[in-house]
Amino acid sequence: MKRPVRMLLKAAKAIDVPPQLIREVPRVTMEANTRVFVENHGGISSYSEQRICIYTALELLQIEGSGLRIERMDRQNIWICGVIEQVGYRGRD
């Protein structure tokens, strides 16, 4: 059953609980501008060397750059390498 993540986030904010406690919240870690580590992803929306879009529980995570490549991927984590120029969320199309 899919949990209402947005609502849970608002509730967590209201009672001053760190959002990391919510399991489905995506976590993005960036190492310099060469590597991005995404936890709690929901799959790949689109993939090219210039842009990779990843489904998350909140919105679509968009990573832009050049020579982008998925280094490794499993059920929860994605490792992306290349020259990263921009990482951001945008509404689902």
């Binding site: 790949i44 993939y47 991927m73």
Partner: protein, 396 residues
Amino acid sequence: MQRIVDFFFGTCRLTLKGPWPLRTINHMSDAGVPFWDLRDEDGALHFVIYRRDLPGVKELCERDGSVLYSEVFGFRHRMRGLKGRYVLLSVLPVVFVMVLFLQNFIWYLQVEGNETLCEEQVLQALESIGIAPGTYVRTIDGQQVKNHMLALLPELEWISVNKHGGWATVLVKERRQTPEVTDPHLISNVVACRAGVISDMQVYSGFAVTEVGDSVLQGELLVSGLGSSWNAVVCRNAQADVYAYTRHETQLILPEESAQADFTGEEKSSWSLIVGKKRWNFFSNSGISLTGYDKIERVYQFALPGGISFPISLVKTICRTYEPIPTLIPEEQAKSLLQQAEKDCVAARLAAGVILDTQQELILQDGLWRLHAVSSANEMIAQTVMINPWSNEEFE
């Protein structure tokens, strides 16, 4: 490290083509199939998965309508050539164990650094203290080997045995021979060791009592160590090279009749295997009932292409039977045999010098060929004899 793990688990490089290849990728992710090195090239996705996940990925591709091309890597894939080769598979571990086991023994000994001593002498001495092909490496104690070998071979100054697996290199250093120093305080005479007429004389020390052209008998004084100067007696260590024309008389005999081998054509061969000093014969009946036979052994030594031979050899022994037939030796053959023997005999008697001339007479008497030869030679006849001028015997 990851590469080593991937190699042993086995990996597949996949090429995914289809209308929605990313959907398959997401399904793979949902199914918990890890993949890496994802590339988008030529309208297809290329990535790598573990070999064990290949059946599941194939199933997903079929469901999504994607086409999958796979290329397998890894240890199992490399070893697929051994599949069904049971003999090779069974021999491989045996060879592996043998390599591990056999390197604990010495199989080849190499001697280095020897100049006057021959390799065989060193190897025989080593064998006498228990170091030979087949010796367990851990039993060799370098210090003990050195002590024993220096006692056995006084010519050695230093020795060391270096072990490299089944190979042992014996490094030796020979003792430097100090030149023999003549004690100038010794007193000696030079006498003739053979009778003859002196042809050449070089006196280095002492007082010559003969000269070129003199005829001398065996034991006669040639150069004296004692001389007089004014009213004093001078003692010297007499040294001289004295050459003289000498005469050698030789009598040689040879039976007129000798047994010649007449091969019957009967031949018997057998094989043996020699490992180190141990010999195994591959035949049950080793006895030969024949009286006369020639035994020929052909040894096939196992060796590496570089020339390193193992202490393992295969020996083929061939016995050819013959009948001894009495045959008369012709005069020419008897003459050449006896002449050669006489030449060798005279040459062995000469300390230094040359044979000048030989006169021979061959006669047949009582079933024997008799050669009477007289050779003249120009040879060294000087012989040094120590004297003690203070002993009563010398002055009497």
